[in-house]
């Protein structure tokens, strides 16, 4: 029945109780009574023991939500709740007074994101290559990652060890969830007193939880991040459709729960700021404002995060310093990791300056929580905001502000007592009260630190020993007492000491014999006193009396001042070669370069004027009109390279459902990917970011410009046509996985996937047409068809609102897809890879399909055995619009070289060869009205080369996108130097920190 977290020294408990052990004993008895009072849901094994638990905490500084403090005030609590807060010293009858003597009371802290008391599930290890295509056979959702029916309260078991840890950090209540699944069901709000489960849970369903991680579900889909977004959207649609039907079309307890959970706060866990922005857009689609559980990187795009209007839950797990002591290992340390190490502790400050509402969680910081929250305050987070983030804000998020998070009448008696203002130097949490239950965290014994004089005299005069005096240094650190005998100079003698609340026992080398005196004693009014025995066994009597203060370690006094700014700016993107702000769009006149127009004029030496991001004029001797002059003499200016097939700058590539037309690559664009910059350095201005080829019907493309530094949504080309990836052949048959059972396993099945998908889509379209043709009143009495994101996308293809880029190799499958498209009356826009396109190029031309191919890849799998490097030339000969693409982050930056191979293999003209990577991909992406050639009015997406652009010897001097020089060879040198300098600076900070740590350890 121990009710305190640490051994208590009664003598220092309260002013009035100091050195009065009996008073403490009485108090302890009262406390125990209060707890018994709370446990009313069980029949006691004994007689009833109901108590009021009425306390008056007087003379306290009581923290107010606005950051002010009620001085010398009184907090009354009774039966676990706050009864009164006022600025008097009014102790009504029936209240036991505790004089806090100027100590501080804060609302009990709330950790809004924990798994406290929730048994975690073991993830089953992936078993072989057989796909798990179906959900578990229970009446839950069609996808096992939708666990909305789960209620944390149903599995909650109090965890004594863990709650003690939380209490030590000052938490009196936590939200407990089970972090498993994309829909995770509901969490419970739980108090951390020593109560049973029934009493501990104060709100059983306090919030609904979501993530983008399918958790323990072994079902194959979703296997990608964009698949998780898609599942989130489809489940929202399913749930709404389900909800309007009576009777239900089938039983689905997950959807029932999903709908019921909508009234709760919706908390979404994300891994990075990019996910946060995407999931917030999904939320907007369904009028859901998620509370976003972040990972500590929101400062990297604080303004965009602010615009989500989301409240955040922010962990305080600042990264450990990267290992840089070994110079070779330091080479392997990322630039962003160094920057993040330095800036992550400023995340709270930056979020606050952007007026973002956020709560803290200790969940990833664990025992570093206080150290880190103090760091955040020292780095510029206002104290009031730091306190709100663990009190009022989490309470408001959960709609529980009347219960927890503030010291107001009627709220639970959850509060902490601090020795000083919470963030004052040396302030310590002394007590944590949970629903009127008192837990002592820190005995507040530090004020007994000091130099003492120990007087020892003989009790039995037979030895005739003279009185002896020693000087003793006594210190309390972390509730552990330590002592040593001070000798001449800096010498000291160790003391074995055991010091508890009411007893002290110690021994030390007493005299020249080298043997020890053993002493025992108790607190008295002036310190301690007691008896003992000398080494010779004679009895001793002793007193310990303070004679001086400890000297304070000078090191510890420094560094409490609040930092005024950041150690270094946030850069965009948060990546090497990022900048504080994007390069400016300026008017440029490039003079005298060899200009590859890709228009009727062909290639000529002339001037090109760029104004407001567009090509304003092409011609000789153009006036500069204030534009910046660029000398193009001896250089070549070409339209920017467009990569029709790329997978750079994506967080995820492949969803694995046979038909995943609902997934959107634009949900997973990573604008911080260095390959964007590397592409720019290779003259690439735009790319189609395609889904992979794991399935016949892949996902929706993202078509981006390489606007290095802009966030994901601003990379997307505004108004570009929509595309989708199809795939044929070995990959979609899962040829590399001999255990695969997923349909299709043959090219025959692949065809049926398409025929089936389009047939289903037509049926779906018909159902909606029927519904939409009903009158308003008829519609009101008719349940609309279920919206299906797969069918919707397939319909878009049939309606020419979305265009197909199909991965393909051998001639049979190319021919097949042309036939399928013809039979459903739409066109295949582009075949990609298309390595046997040369065998059916005439058919492709007739159909109107383009071909985007590799220059010279072959032989890496069976279906590319007869790939030939003449493919581009032959398809062009047959009248196909041909592009050369990369499908590879490295080759992407050398696409000019790849295009040149069409000269070597197939005698293509140089002008046509350059079009393979500029105008032709623009045509295949329907962007040729604004990109792909140097023509007045088109986007100024252009590249200045040092040499003939098809030559292996050419390097890019400058790449402009929308007239902005995102890559410039000269600036690149400057950026490299900045990176080198910044690395050196941060590494020096880390190594200096480490060496001073070592020194202090040595001391």
């Amino acid at each position: 029945m121990k009710r305190i977290d640490t051994p208590v020294d009664p003598s220092v408990k309260f002013k009035f109780a100091r050195f009065v052990p009996t008073a403490f004993a009485a108090l302890l008895a009262l406390l125990m009574a209060a707890i018994a009072n709370a446990q009313q849901n069980q029949t006691p094994n004994g007689i009833a023991d109901d108590r009021a638990g009425a306390y008056a905490l007087t003379n306290a500084n009581i923290y107010q939500p606005d950051g002010s403090v009620l001085r010398a005030s009184t907090l009354l609590i009774r039966e676990g709740k706050i009864v009164q807060v006022d600025e008097s010293r009014n102790v009504p009858n029936g209240y036991f007074e505790i004089d806090l003597d100027g100590k501080y009371i804060y609302p009990g802290f709330i950790d809004i994101y924990t798994e406290y008391g929730i048994p975690s599930l073991e993830r089953e290890s992936g078993g072989g290559g057989v796909e798990n295509l179906f959900p578990s056979d229970q009446a839950f959702n069609v996808n096992d990652a939708i666990k909305s029916n789960f209620r944390a309260s149903t599995t909650f078991v109090p965890d004594e060890e863990l709650r003690k840890k939380y209490r030590r950090l000052g938490f009196s209540s936590v939200l407990s969830l089970r972090a498993d699944g994309i829909a995770r069901g509901t969490s419970a709000l739980i108090t951390l007193g020593d109560m049973n489960a029934n009493e501990s849970i104060i709100i059983p369903d306090v919030a609904a939880h979501y993530s983008l991680n399918k958790g323990t579900s072994t079902q194959q889909v979703p296997s990608s991040l964009m698949g998780a977004f898609a599942l989130l959207r489809q489940t929202n649609l399913d749930a709404r459709w389900f909800d309007v039907q009576s009777p239900r079309p089938f039983t689905d307890d997950s959807l029932e729960a999903w709908n019921a959970n909508q009234e709760l706060p919706q908390i979404m866990e994300v891994s990075n700021w990019q996910q946060a922005l995407t999931v917030d857009r999904v939320g907007d689609e369904f009028e859901t404002q998620y509370v976003l559980k972040m990972s500590g990187d929101a400062y990297k795009q604080a303004e965009l995060i602010r615009r989500t209007n989301a409240t955040l839950i922010v962990p305080l797990n600042f990264p450990e310093a990267p290992k840089v002591e070994d110079v070779l290992e330091a080479e392997e340390v990322g630039f962003s990791d160094l920057k993040h190490w330095e800036l992550a502790p400023f995340n709270p400050k930056i979020l606050n300056e952007h007026e973002i509402n956020f709560a803290f969680t200790s969940s990833e910081a664990n025992q570093d929580f206080w150290e880190n929250i103090r760091t955040a305050v020292r780095n510029g987070l206002p104290e009031q905001q730091a306190i709100a983030a663990i009190t009022s804000i989490p309470a408001e998020i959960l709609g529980a502000a009347d219960l927890v998070g503030q010291l107001s009448v009627g709220a639970l008696a959850n509060f902490v007592i601090s020795s000083d203002a919470l963030f004052a130097k040396d302030a310590r949490l002394l007590e944590n009260w949970v629903r009127g239950e008192r837990f002592v965290l820190d005995d507040d014994r530090d004020d007994r630190n000091g130099i003492y004089s120990l007087n020892i005299s003989s009790v039995n005069s037979s030895t005739n020993r003279a009185d002896q005096q020693f000087e003793v240094e006594l210190s309390f650190a972390g509730n552990k007492a330590a002592a040593k005998i001070l000798l001449e100079g800096d010498e000291s003698r160790e003391v074995n000491l055991e010091l508890t609340d009411d007893l002290v026992s110690f021994n030390f080398v007493f005299d020249e014999s080298g043997n020890r005196a053993r002493l025992v004693g108790w607190p008295d009014t002036g310190g301690w006193s007691g008896n003992g025995r000398a080494p010779d066994g004679s009895r001793l009597s002793w007193q310990l009396r303070q004679s001086g203060d400890l000297t304070v370690n000078a090191n510890e006094q420094s560094n409490e001042s609040v930092a005024s700014g950041l150690p270094a700016p946030v850069i965009y993107p948060f990546s090497p070669y990022g900048r504080e702000s994007a390069p400016e769009q300026t008017d440029v006149l490039i003079q005298g370069a060899t200009v590859w127009t890709n228009e009727a004029e062909g290639t000529l030496v002339t001037d090109v004027l760029v104004r407001a991001g567009k090509i304003a004029a092409v011609g000789d001797n153009l006036p500069s009109d204030g534009a910046t002059l660029v000398d193009g003499t001896g250089k070549h200016l070409t339209p920017g390279i467009i990569d029709e097939h790329s997978h750079i700058a994506l967080f995820s590539i492949n969803e694995t459902a046979t038909n995943s037309s609902m997934v959107r690559m634009k949900d997973v664009v990573n604008s911080e990917n260095i390959n964007i910059y590397r592409n720019l350095a290779g003259g690439v201005v735009a790319a189609q970011l395609l889904h992979g080829s794991a399935n016949p019907i892949g996902g929706q493309s993202a078509i981006i410009k390489m606007r290095w530094g802009a966030p994901p949504q601003e990379l997307l080309i505004d108004g570009a046509d929509e595309y989708i990836k199809f795939a044929l052949g070995e990959n979609v048959k899962r040829s590399r996985n001999p255990a695969s059972i997923r349909y299709p396993q043959t090219r025959m099945g692949v065809e049926q996937v398409f025929v089936n998908a389009f047939s289903q889509a037509l049926e779906y379209g018909k159902a909606w047409d029927n519904y939409n043709s009903l009158s308003r009143s008829q519609q009101r009495s008719t349940i609309p068809p279920r919206r299906d994101l797969v069918d919707e996308t397939m319909l878009e293809i049939l309606n020419s609102e979305r265009f197909v880029t199909s991965h393909s190799y051998v001639q049979s499958e190319i021919n097949m897809l042309l036939n399928v498209a013809d039979s459903f009356d739409f066109n295949i826009n582009t075949f990609t890879h298309i390595l046997e396109g040369y065998k059916v190029a005439d058919k492709m031309a007739l159909h109107g399909a383009g071909g985007s191919t590799f220059s010279d890849w072959f032989g890496y799998k069976w279906e590319v055995r007869y790939a030939i490097p003449y493919n581009a030339a032959l398809m062009q000969q047959a009248g196909v619009v041909v592009a050369i693409n990369s499908d590879d982050a490295e080759m992407s930056r050398r696409l000019n070289q790849e295009a040149a191979k069409a000269i070597k293999y197939g005698d293509m003209s140089e002008i046509d060869a350059l079009k393979l990577v500029t105008l032709n991909p623009a045509r295949l992406l329907h962007l040729d009205d604004r990109m792909g050639s140097i023509l007045e009015g088109k986007d100024a997406d252009i590249v200045l080369w040092s040499d003939h652009p098809l030559s292996v010897y050419a390097v890019v001097e400058t790449t402009w996108v929308d007239g902005i020089p995102y890559y410039d060879r000269e600036e690149d040198r400057v950026l490299r130097q900045q990176i080198a300098d910044e690395r050196a600076r941060i590494i020096a900070v880390i190594t200096n920190n480490n060496s001073s740590d070592n020194q202090s350890t040595a001391n």
Binding site: D856, R865, A900
Partner: protein, 438 residues
Amino acid sequence: MRKILEDFLFAAASFFLLLIVSNSNAIVPVPAEDQSGPIAILGAVIHIGNGQVIGDGVITFDEGIITAIGSLSDGINTAGHLLIELQGQHLYPGFVLANTTLGLLEVGSIRATADVFEEGDINASVRSAIAYNTDSEIIPTQRFNGILTAQVAPEGGLISGSSSVFKLDGWNWEDALLHPDVGIHMHWPSFTQRRRSPETGLFETVDNENYDGQKQVLHSLFQNAQSYTGEPLNLNLQALQPVLNGGAKLFIHADEAKEIISAVRFAREYGISDVVLVGAADALLVQDFIIAESIPVIYEQIHALPSMNWHGVDKQFKTPFLLQEAGIKVGIGGGATELQSQRNLPFFAGTAAAHGLDRETALSLITLNNAEILGVSDRVGSLEVGKDATMFVSEGDALDMRTSKVLGAYIQGRDIDLFGTQQELYERFRDKYAKQVE
């Protein structure tokens, strides 16, 4: 292809046309006949392979061996020679592809076509020499770009076996061998390994827990090899003897800086003098060590991405130049590139030339340097009197894909057929579509 040749060889003797006779069936070309009489090539830009160029050059060769080389003004005797006029086209020593699996692998994704990785960590005794398939369909694609010699190496384990150098023309592996068993390949264990974090799902670098154990396996092997007496018979220990006594090279495959140091020090500990570093991605970080140890480097990652985001975007392109400038002997290998794409070897060198190297030095990285590093420079790697007449003619600069058009090639004076399946298919469909237009 024949069309191309007709366009450019109008001035040449009908000789080339005679020799580049197509096989109408799409199998690999017939190996060439031995040189039947002395040949003189006139009017070429001759790239020697050692950094020198002869503008208006003459080269003569007989019985497969170069007999004279110089400029037209040198008065080289061409009497009795078959004369081939090149009119400013370029003559190169055949490119030497170091560290490749050519002839051991056909289709990467199909296990049955792979003879690259033998089972087990220690395979000193296995020899690529006897598995090299002269009928690989990949060989003609390499020859088409001027690659006429290749070092074929097994992979995998700690000791992969021995590599041999082949002429890329021959009826069978014995026929094609230029230099058998040039060295043993040791893959030094990695200090670290990349893996996907079970917690975050992101890739992370963690220590290789097996490093010490793997290193011990190598020590034990070399200790026993050093004291090997022949009793009892041990094929692996026996196979290591040439490496220990200087008769064969030790090719050390290591990429990271610390691995390079540890692996080379390991070799020195066992008195192995003839060491070549293969891969050596981090060579620049330990260049002083490599110079001090006088070890040549076969660098492989030119058309590759820098390993760290913060590296210069052109780091891979520039590394050969920086190594060369530091005084390290550098060659370029194929192993880090997909086998079928290793035909781009000349363009790896071209890319290096765009980033610091002068063009003739870049050329020497895939000719004379590679030949010297592999120990076959007495035969190939440069166009010098007494060496094999292994060379090719290109219409333009063969390091630049814009101008590289290989028109004809000799291996030991034998005029080889450059035509392969790919050219055959090209013509077939070019003609089909041409007829449709008519």
